[in-house]
């Protein structure tokens, strides 16, 4: 692997520092919510993690489109990087949501439209890696992967919009007002600071991990090429 660019090193350090500040804001700066208590603080990492997850799935679909147009392997590497990172963040979002739900909804899990679509989205992208693992030819693997991410990306806007379109108990904190939702709260000044800083921090972390993962993908491609050269 080539030496790390200075910009990436700066981004690595900035990500760690921003995460430390975001954690401080979420745990200590933001006021305690009166009805839910301390568990509401999970929200400051739950929403940004879900945001980054959906962002990556959309980014993967865009990379998939570019690959189908150009047939350049680098777009396949970019696509796979986006899916992998988003899968991790989306999994974290689902688990954090479940932990929040236990004291608020009195259950770890319920087949609410939002939870169901989120689980389906996660499973779709787990299957993406299973599909890739089953194809040996790199061109075919990249082509199938690109089409799959394109189709899979439909689940991202559905998951985002489902709480605004269907009757659900999942709270819509931003621009929401469903009377059926349980756990809705109005964000005060301190809460908004922690929330928006969290969104910004997770976006920076996503960019940092994305860049690092693309470099790892490039290295893997080089190793694969070297192996082919030696065996042939």
């Amino acid at each position: 692997m080539q030496t790390k660019p200075i910009a990436l090193k700066v981004l690595d350090i900035a990500s760690v520092l921003l995460l430390a500040v975001a954690t401080y804001l979420a745990l200590f700066y933001a006021p305690t919510e009166a009805v839910m208590g301390q568990v509401q603080r999970v929200f400051y990492f739950h929403v940004p993690a879900a945001w980054v997850g959906l962002l990556g799935f959309i980014a993967a679909a865009v990379a998939g489109i570019v690959y189908l147009v150009t047939h350049d392997q680098k777009w396949d590497i970019i696509e796979m990087a986006a899916v992998e990172i988003s899968l991790v963040f989306f999994f974290i979002a689902i688990v954090l949501g479940s932990i929040w739900a236990r004291p608020i909804w009195n259950t770890w899990w319920t087949w609410d439209p939002r939870l169901t679509t989120a689980a389906i989205t996660e499973l779709i992208y787990i299957a993406y890696f299973m599909l890739r693992a089953g194809i040996e030819d790199p061109d075919r693997r990249a082509r199938f992967g690109a089409v799959y991410t394109l189709v899979g990306a439909v689940s991202a806007p559905i998951t985002f919009m489902v709480i605004r379109l269907f009757r659900t108990i999942h709270p819509v904190v931003i621009a929401g007002g469903d009377p059926n939702a349980q756990g809705t709260f109005a964000m005060t000044g301190g809460m908004q600071v922690a929330f928006f800083f969290g969104l910004f921090t997770f976006t920076v972390i996503f960019i940092d991990l994305f860049w690092n993962r693309i470099r790892l993908g490039n290295l893997a491609a080089k190793v694969e090429q070297l192996k082919l050269n030696i065996t042939n």
């Binding site: 745990l27 208590g37 301390q38 990492f45 991790v88 929040w100 070297l226 030696i230």
Partner: protein, 89 residues
Amino acid sequence: MFFQDTTPDTSSYMILGYAVFFIATTIYLISFFVRSRNLRQDMSMLESMKPESKVMESKATAGKMTAGKPAKAKTSKPKASASKTKKKK
């Protein structure tokens, strides 16, 4: 929920949530570094094999070329050793 007088103590769930976040992130980062290290090791090993394979290829081609004249290939080595002994003296 609607008629509660005091804020419930849900701090254990909050701690669990943040613990899950940091543990999951750490596991992902560790897997990232392990994969990166393994690939770097593979890369260096394959690069070290690359010149060897080239040498082997050149030896094989040289073998093919001198297949009819084995004496020449053998005579080249003693010459080199003779020059070394001269240098030592």
